[in-house]
Amino acid sequence: MSNNTTNERSRRYLNPYLGGVLLGLVLLAANFVSGRGLGASGAVKSVVATTIEAVDKDASETMPFMKEYAGSHSGSPIKSWLVFEMLGVLVGGFLSGAVAGRLKLKVEHSPKITSRRRLIFALAGGTLFGFGSQLGRGCTSGSALSGMGVLSLGGFVTMMAIFGTAFALAYFFRKLWI
């Protein structure tokens, strides 16, 4: 019985190699259309820059981070390719979840830890990831995946640093997951 349920559930996910080919085609389409790859943290950066500018009009002259941002982005920060792309990600993720029957408000965690503990670590992990993505000029999508797709040396270096560190620390955080 439980075996049956497992099979049924796993069938709902795409075959990972097929998923990878489709992901590669999406990344290829992004490059063909815009000349750049995909991204995620860049959209967060745009929203952050927009809010800072809304609160402090002079920030783009007085704040070094905003100066750096303005140097690499023209026009209004919210009107960025990645912001539109990430809005699409929310829609696409929702649609896929709806079709597969996975829409459910829940905290996913190992039975060995409480929801509270999971959420504390999710917040801490998100904060570190957000910070690191700024330092590393992009996250797993924008720097590692898209960088590797165009053979960027930096993309390969960042990919190895992300996965290498996570593997190295896995033992210490094993109770969160197994």
Partner: protein
């Protein structure tokens, strides 16, 4: 012909509209591959679920081959394709900080948005964390600026650095990926897993 926007074949607004549709496809593929589940994602680090490795490397290789073929056919001008710049110090340190975030939070930015989209509260909290982290970086940027700009190497391709053609490097990457996939399939059989 391609890329379309840099060649001004499509307008800026069309480019934004296509960004939205490309995003829908991106979100769909991530979610339907299981990337909305932190326990599936974290599985790669314990061997019980290697979906991240399989999807990620197949994706990077598909794009790489696609670009190589499209450039051979004259469909895309590779000189106009953005190659991420390499700032060695921050690429490594940023990656290390992100890796720590990955094993603690179980998501990366793109996947956390997918998780949040289907109602994962841990995904929503991770997204809130992303904003905190980016604000944190924005307000402390002068502290990191030197590190952020250190060891700038330009926009080198890894194939150039290794002194081989893109095609040869691509072939080696495919062989390496096949090797990793075989290890991954073995690990998934060895370590028990549940479906989440």
């Amino acid at each position: 012909m391609g890329p379309l926007a840099p060649n001004e074949i499509i307008s800026e607004n069309t480019n934004f509209l296509l960004a939205f549709f490309i995003g829908i496809a991106f979100g769909w593929v991530l979610e339907s591959s299981g990337f909305s589940s932190s326990r599936k994602l974290a599985g790669i680090f314990y061997g019980y679920d290697a979906v991240v490795l399989k999807v990620f490397f197949t994706g990077a290789i598909t794009c790489m081959l696609g670009l190589l073929f499209m450039s051979l056919f004259g469909w895309v001008d590779l000189d106009l394709i953005y190659v991420n710049p390499t700032y060695l110090t921050s690429a490594i340190i940023g990656g290390v900080v992100m890796g720590a975030g990955f094993i603690m939070g179980g998501f990366c930015p793109g996947t956390s948005f997918c998780g949040a989209a289907i109602g994962k509260i841990d995904g929503m909290v991770f997204v809130a964390g992303l904003f905190l982290g980016v604000y944190g970086f924005a307000f402390t940027y002068p502290l990191w600026e030197k590190m952020y700009m250190a060891k700038y190497l330009g926009e080198p391709k890894v194939s150039e650095k290794l002194g081989m053609s893109d095609g040869l490097f691509g072939l080696l990457m495919i062989l390496a990926a096949i090797g990793m996939f075989m290890v991954a399939e073995w690990a998934e059989r060895k370590f028990p897993r549940e479906e989440y």
